[in-house]
Amino acid sequence: MRELMAEFRKSVTLPRPERPRRALTPDATAAESVQPRDPIRQPPGETVFRLQDVGLWYGTKHAISDISLDIPVNRVTALIGPSGCGKSSLLRCLNRMNDLIPTARVEGRVEYHGADIYDHSVDPVEVRRRIGMVFQKPNPFPKSIQDNVVFGAKVNGIEGDSGEIAEHALRQAALWDEVKNDLKMSGLDLSGGQQQRLCIARALAVQPDVILMDEPCSALDPIATLKIEDLIRELVKEYTIIIVTHNMQQAARVSDYTAFLLAQEHGLNGTLIEYGPTNEIFTQPREQRTEDYITGRFG
């Protein structure tokens, strides 16, 4: 049976199309020189991250292969794709959270403002305090709201009055008005949406440059989701945000750039299918598979 399936797959797999070598410098002239139908359109202008042929292995399991991607500064970049396509794994490569999985191994280069974050001399703690992260499930610490917000600042030795740090971050996260009288209350007593904004506030208090969000709304109701989305649009004026989402409408609503990944492609796991400005991806995708996915034909 298994052989039959393999045969079948072989017969339906198309030969891998030759893709023109992409220019890695996304300045205007280079962008023009790229073939107009290239599904990978690196953004022009300043970038925060530059991924070059990034691959990720969990032991012998290949999770991501050959992803090259530029993440623009002060924009929201969405990573979309079906479950298991490696979008969360890719996100966790960007702040070295994959280091915590003993068997994980990263290939290629992940440049952050020009520096390879996987270089031997790089300390993951330095990386993580610049690149904050919000998780899928809100994970406030079982401490007071104030202690939650101040925790990151404290462990990073950021000077200042705890009250001011907390107030500033909670205002940024649009949570201040709801909790200003209950700062001593446990973070766990907040609603799910408030907890997630608390986690965003906690990340902001560390004064990061980038915020990674791993399906931040998947555990939230639509109203709480909307609040987080508004907040993302507000925060992107000051921060670079990369968001993994299952929700196509959410990607369309909040992101400026969208990367579409697929789990299985030409025998490779977790590959980048299409990347470009969100409105183009959603209105005129260049790849049939992108169109199929965003119109809900699979995934």
């Binding site: 703690v125 904050g132 462990v155 906690r202």
Partner: protein, 306 residues
């Protein structure tokens, strides 16, 4: 259309399965009753034979040739100091080991071997620890048959158990808390110190108290070490020694006896009247152990509510 009535009474296979289920219930009830009734009977028997000896004098008298004058005083002191030494020498090692295994150790074969060995060590008969303590502390380090040697021996004995329960407690802390802290730029130690340990503490404390309550009743290992049964002084530092480090240190090197050894000595005494002393000693020891277990339960409940 005529509706056919459905039979919903148990029949055939369902009836058989239900029968097995009902019978099994009585079997399990019988097992429980058997265990509990033996325990109740033992408790009752002990109280009946020992209650007459229970008094304040019994706790404050030294051993004696006369059963009605003999008391637990040196044994109570010995037990107290022994436990103190055991706790302070085992807990840092045990918790440290658990943290290393769960938070820092590379996941490789060496670690697997260490873990398996810990589980095995927790099951080693206590007399083996007694022999080990005799060899290492009493002979090799020349501590003689002292409180220190006894305390360290018991520490060796409860470390594997405490490590395992502490590991369990640390593993119960949701990984999302650790990840959350690390994602904020905390170092591994900061995440452990501020997020893992505070949440693992109730479990660690409970496990430690239960290990101590096992150590309190330990006899075999300490007979091996040489916990004397007939001493007429208070083992361990006196009140005056607290101001004097040298005296305190000397106190810890005194020979000792403990409650279970005293009970054992009274039990094997050929004179009938000493059996009552043994029973009274058991009541004292059981009360202590039960108080410790109650404390563990209270701590667990308290933290669970927070």
């Amino acid at each position: 259309m005529a509706s056919e009535s459905i039979r919903l009474r148990a029949s055939g296979a369902v009836a058989r399965r239900q029968l097995v289920s009902r019978v099994s219930r009585y079997f399990f009830l019988a097992a429980t009753v058997l265990g509990v009734s033996i325990l109740v009977f033992l408790g009752y028997d002990t109280i009946v034979s020992g209650a007459s000896r229970l008094s304040l004098d019994f706790l404050t008298n030294y051993p004696s040739r006369f059963a009605e004058k003999a008391g637990l005083r040196p044994a109570v002191y010995g037990t107290f100091w022994l436990m103190l030494i055991t706790v302070f020498s085992s807990i840092p090692v045990a918790i440290g080991t658990a943290i290393w295994i769960e938070e820092f150790a590379p996941r490789n074969r060496v670690l697997t071997i260490v873990k398996i060995n810990l589980a095995n060590l927790a099951g080693v008969p206590s007399i083996i620890y007694g022999i080990l303590g005799l060899t290492i502390f009493v002979r090799f380090y020349g501590m003689d048959r002292s409180l220190l040697a006894g305390g360290f021996t018991l520490a060796l004995m409860i470390i594997p158990m405490t490590v395992i329960t502490s590991q369990e407690a640390i593993r119960q802390v949701p990984p999302s808390l650790r990840d959350g802290a690390l994602a904020l730029g905390a170092t591994r130690w900061q995440a452990v110190r501020h997020n893992v340990l505070p949440n693992a503490m109730p479990g660690i404390i409970t496990g430690t108290i239960l290990a101590i309550s096992r150590a309190v009743g330990e006899t075999a290992a300490l007979i091996m070490i040489g916990g004397f049964t007939f001493i007429r002084f208070d083992p361990g530092p006196n009140l005056a020694d607290f101001a004097d480090p040298a005296g305190f240190w000397a106190g810890l090197q005194e020979s000792f006896t403990i409650i279970p050894i005293q009970i054992y000595a009274w039990t094997i005494d050929s004179r009938r009247e000493f059996q009552a002393n043994a029973s009274a000693g058991i009541i004292v020891l059981m009360t202590g152990v039960m108080a410790l277990n109650l404390l563990a339960a209270l701590i667990r409940e308290r933290f669970r509510r927070n």
